[in-house]
């Protein structure tokens, strides 16, 4: 397994995590959180953990993002920090 792929995807993951907790709009947080889950799924697939990657793709980048958007729809979208 090449260390180049690993390093690039890990860097993207850290950027997505930092962005998800700093933006002020909660809908953008939901989408960035979905992107972070998908980067995690790619990392696990590259490491050979195919069952874990399948579960994270269906749960994290699927159902979890839908729950998040549904909750933001029913509460407010702006946040002060």
């Amino acid at each position: 397994m090449h260390w180049q792929i690993d390093l690039i995807i890990l860097t993207f993951t850290i950027f997505c995590a930092l962005a998800a907790i700093s933006v002020k709009d909660l809908l953008s947080t939901a989408i960035l959180f979905g992107a972070y889950s998908f980067m995690m799924c790619l990392l696990w697939a590259v490491m050979g953990a195919v069952d874990v990657a399948f579960t994270e793709a269906s749960v994290g980048a699927g159902v979890s993002t839908v729950f998040f958007v549904a909750a933001v729809f029913r509460t407010s979208r702006r946040t002060k920090d």
């Binding site: 397994m1 690993d6 390093l7 890990l10 993951t13 850290i14 995590a17 930092l18 998800a20 907790i21 909660l26 947080t29 959180f33 972070y36 889950s37 995690m40 990392l43 696990w44 490491m47 050979g48 953990a49 195919v50 069952d51 874990v52 579960t55 994270e56 749960v59 994290g60 159902v63 979890s64 729950f67 998040f68 549904a70 909750a71 933001v72 029913r74 509460t75 407010s76 946040t79 002060k80 920090d81």
Partner: protein, 135 residues
Amino acid sequence: MSEILPIIVAKYNYWLYIILMMIGLYAMISKNNLIKKLVGMNIFQTSIILFYVSIGYKTNATIPIIENAHGDSHSPHELIIHAADYINPLPHVLMLTAIVVSVATFGVALALAVKIYQRYQTLEEDEIRMRLTEE
């Protein structure tokens, strides 16, 4: 410098996983919005799962599904399986349960957040504390 470089090359991925864990922990402690705290909790959980899955990896090994086992339904005892050829499946199993529990926790926490918003009309923690002391 030349003796630090092998250490960095051998352990850099553990350092990046710990940085991810600390981002999640920081978001849980210091953010005011309840939903940002939830995002931090989830980042923390997935980074721990990432660390755990990475310790089961073996170099030059393949995914934990035994090859050439489907057609030989009459002779499973003749397959010679070396443990060093397959990635360790035990961390994967434990982390599968962890992902399931994490999504269940996330769903219940979002239900609680919606209920809090219905009652106090805000999701910021300091405003909720103010409105609690006013009653």
